[in-house]
Assembly symmetry: D2
């Protein structure tokens, strides 16, 4: 049975619904019926052609939830939990990390393995149902599958989407200490997740700068103590407020989740001496920015840490915490709209124009 | 007996020899007869007025070696080693770290304690012999004294000078792994020390970019495998060479020790994905630089770490290693000239014009 | 005015109420009116003479809450918050850490500084009101004072008592990762606090072995998912249950908070390969235990980490989190009884016989 | 062509020379002509049947050096270096780490992956030439191959053998700081390598306890400052000496490399408060030992770290450092005897009876 899919034909072109051939399932593969996939900022960038090496046409949708409809001998998920037809799962979109190169074996940073490929981004539509904006998803052998923990819905997971894992990874990267003041720049899915997980990891105080107001309200619902609306406050005013809250020191940890280079000088001004600044929002090139190596890094004794990509343990940790603290993490509320396959183009526009924080694609209605 | 000292009267003014009053030694203090002090790049910046909050006139000379001539009840150095008149010692130039503030107690980063003061930099000449460019040095109660280990001369220590400890601290900050490729940008005292200690800490390969040629030769004498003279090579040529040496990956660890903002974009281009970049050369403000948050930090998954100030354990570690590997670390050769008190002004010019890598001041001849 | 105090005269002797002389307040000191102090397991050990170097007679009570009644020039707490007469504060019981020895300066582990002294333990009664079981407490210059954050009561703090900070420090020491399974051995104040903070730091699952039932109920109230009553379950049964919960792997992190050597072999049997085992319950010598270096440590690739003493940042972090999550951390419920000065002996018996988890002493009624 | 091999038929049985069938080389495999393999303590234990799950009969020899004689499409080693027939290589004896289980993906400790198999230990002879005590070695697809760096001989590598990598991994695990005092318990191949790498990683002082004298001499040749012969000194005498050298504190870091449980209580007595104790010598079960959880771990604030198994980056780092510092690391001198295939039994006896520190097997003469 062919897979009806929303396909991105190339940079600058609108999404089209096409039928992809029925995948030949090799041993070790699993076929999912898609429950929900997401539309994230990266998908907008993909349509504008802002990522390198994308083999258009592609089926977008990197983080997805599906129901197992067929399994070629896969009897457990990557944690060893039994897997059966009908189970609802997600999976690590990053695949084909080689475990054989310098990055994998010596640096032990598989997130920078040059052989990795990503569902919904670096597989061409010609290779089949390898993205979430289709009725079914073909999980090739070796894809890291994770059953959705009991008590979580697909919307809990997709409401956070890839931002859930990126935010989790950013907080992990910060190595923050219990009780510290954490400031998040940005209130999109990555920023919301970073704030949520910083709170779950023992932040003493949570601050957020972002826009628009509705997103900041979501932030507060996830535990943020104080928010500043970007357009309605001045950089100087924010700085004064943060310094006042911290007796002139600045935040212990800042997570950048904006994708806007202008956030970075502001961040340095808000960071305390010896603090940690995680840069997690610049997944595409938004241009350069000017910094002062003396004041911002050397004299400040700062740690500025990039955080790229998602690893399987981020999925595991994020979903465990989401399941444990579901009542305090209303990620399902982040979902601003549900879109069928034929509405994917509109979903992209709604995300790009900030009409919704997170759009989800439900190919099977 | 008054202390004959070379005094820096103020920004832009030449050094003058003056006599400072005989210090009143309080209980817990120690008086040293100066054996050697140093002239480092910071002293040049001090004379140009490039540091904030300097209480001119001052007696420069932050890292110094002296002989104990009088002790008011101090019977051991900070490691508990017995201390007697005649012993040759150095000491931590940073004093009055409070051990009572947020930086000291909560952040546990006393190097950013706002109460710290520095011999030779933030004490006014009016307070007495609190810098190394004088015949004697008044070590106030609580100054961290360290006996020079057997087998080391004053020139071994002052040949590295403050750069010895700054380089040591930069390597410590990198948390490099054994066998990694370490590249040092800069071949002044900090760069030479960073290279030396990276070699002693298990670098698999040591690279250095710097100038002039004589300094790069010192680098090779300290274990650097390959050097590039800054003026005689192009940025693109260096990049090609480093990538070729590393199979296209770049250096695992880079230590910036130049003070030149232009080094930073070059450094990012030479750093492997997931690598660590320590910024240790920007002790004064040399202006801003443009970086790309996406390519340089986020996608690269880089760790960019500022390293400010020296702590006592850096002195201990650096001198232990210097004593242990003295034959392989010719820091005494870094000394380009010895200057009496009346020649301090000339010493500053020789350092500023790169005629010598390290000038030492020997107030007692 | 003399200080009415409950004094422990010596090993094996009952507590007596005595009057100590009015302390002479030196500059930099603060006098507190005691609001509440605690009776912890250490106090029981003190009475039995199980700690070395205790200068009996002493005034017990190391962690205490008091109201400022007099201040000799102390205008702020150790975080820089303004301090005034009437403010309710706690303070770090450890004092006189020297910041000048190898442990303080080189190892940077002031918790093992040989010069440290502890309120309520290593000060003799003859030196005055230096313990919490008295109407007033004399905070000598340099004692690290911390204002109780708004919204917290003295009972919130003393209900956890020193166990609050010991448990916090144990979780910090574990360096646990978000989402991990954490098992706590012991359900006394240290075990309850360790579980509480592990939950606040992102544990994915919380397990506890302890006794009696009422304490395990407190554990569950603080977020523990599953408990085993020590007497009512077998070691083998607990092992089977933990392995079943973790697909045969064991817990990622275990915190020992029992003071019983027998807990340690059980702990190794419950720890997954590569897991972390924090030993935080053996504050007194309860004798040796047999371990297998091959199976328990080397082949298991285990990290076994002792955790001694409290540092100021533990107080800061613990109280910030306690204030932030007060509704989820019912430490005030841990208080099993309030005792006047004349009832201190009975309080010790109630703690020793496990009739109460935490007894508090309220010298002023 | 069949592979002439020295086969260990079963526990307690002498080694026999047998011919194994010519391996069928699958795509991705490499065939080596064996240059040298080793006889290590594990081989002695294997013959005595002290390891679990060994599929006798086996071809021993886990760490080996060989010359490529045939390659089925393998064009580069695991670092990307071009690989050609005639190249001399070593390889990671651990194979089939799954990169798909909890230990590999979530704990990120592939050294405890339950699916790993080890050349020379857990492959049966029936599967072919999967151990170094044969004329040729069949490197299955995915075996991590590493070219021997220029300037190193097979004896440099095999002189250290598996101990080289185990010692390297132990030092890595210690996370020692530059300038620290490191004590190694044991002077066999693991102890010698641990001392050598601790020296290359910046130890300030290196101490060793071991036997017999000839091995301690090797230790001193590798940089050890002071040695104690186990039989000729008393535990009390060693303790006094170590405390005297460290002003009563003890060693900062201790690496256990003895396999003798009795070493462990001695080690705790020699470790400074807050020190790190790596247990790397208990690769087989030599029985239990009694420790005191209070004094040895909790109050001492010790970190006791097991270190199991070798990972590929240990090979890379160790060989890079061995190549860089070959003149200071006379591992070739550790080789006490060369044995043909027919002499393997005698080699085992010589190792067991400590007649040689390291025996090497040279199947091709």
């Amino acid at each position: 049975m062919p897979i009806r899919s929303a396909v991105m034909p190339g940079p600058g072109l609108p999404v089209e619904v096409r039928e992809l051939p029925d995948p030949a399932l090799e041993p070790g593969s699993v076929l999912l019926e898609t429950v929900a996939s997401e539309v994230c900022g990266t998908d907008v960038h993909l349509q504008h052609g802002r990522l390198e090496g994308v083999p258009y046409p592609i089926v977008p949708g990197h983080v997805s939830v599906g129901r197992v409809v067929e399994s070629r001998g896969v009897e457990a998920d990557a944690l060893g939990e039994p897997l059966a037809v009908g189970d609802v799962v997600t999976f690590l979109d990053v695949h084909e990390t080689c475990n054989a190169c310098y990055q994998c074996l010596v640096a032990r940073q598989p997130n920078r393995c040059p052989h990795r490929r990503v569902y919904g981004i670096t597989y061409p539509a010609a290779e089949g149902g390898l993205g979430g904006w289709g009725e079914r998803i073909h999980l090739k052998p070796g894809v890291r599958i994770l059953k959705i923990p009991p008590g979580l819905t697909a919307e809990d997971v997709i409401g956070g989407g890839c931002g859930l894992f990126t935010g989790f990874a950013a907080v992990e990267r910060s190595a923050m200490e219990m009780g510290e003041t954490v400031l998040v720049q940005g209130s999109g899915p990555v920023g919301l997740a970073a704030a949520a997980f910083a709170g779950l990891r023992g932040a003493g105080r949570l601050l957020m700068i972002g826009a628009p107001t509705a997103r900041l309200e979501l932030g507060r619902a996830m535990g943020v103590d104080r928010t500043w609306e970007l357009e309605e406050t001045s950089e100087e005013g924010r700085r004064e407020a943060v310094l006042e809250l911290t007796r002139g020191r600045g935040a212990d940890v800042i997570v950048e989740a904006t994708g806007n280079p202008a956030a970075i000088p502001e961040g340095f001004g808000l960071l305390r001496d010896g603090g940690t600044y995680v840069i997690a929002g610049h997944y595409t090139d938004a241009g350069p920015v000017s910094i002062n190596p003396h004041a911002d890094i050397n004299r400040k004794h700062a740690a500025v840490l990039g955080r790229w990509g998602t690893e399987f343990h981020h999925l595991v940790g994020a979903l465990r915490l989401l399941a444990r603290h579901r009542d305090r993490l209303p990620f399902a509320r982040v979902v601003g709209g549900r879109y069928g396959l034929g509405e994917a183009e509109r979903a992209l526009r709604d995300v790009e124009d900030l009409r919704v924080t997170k759009a989800i694609v439900t190919p099977n209605g």
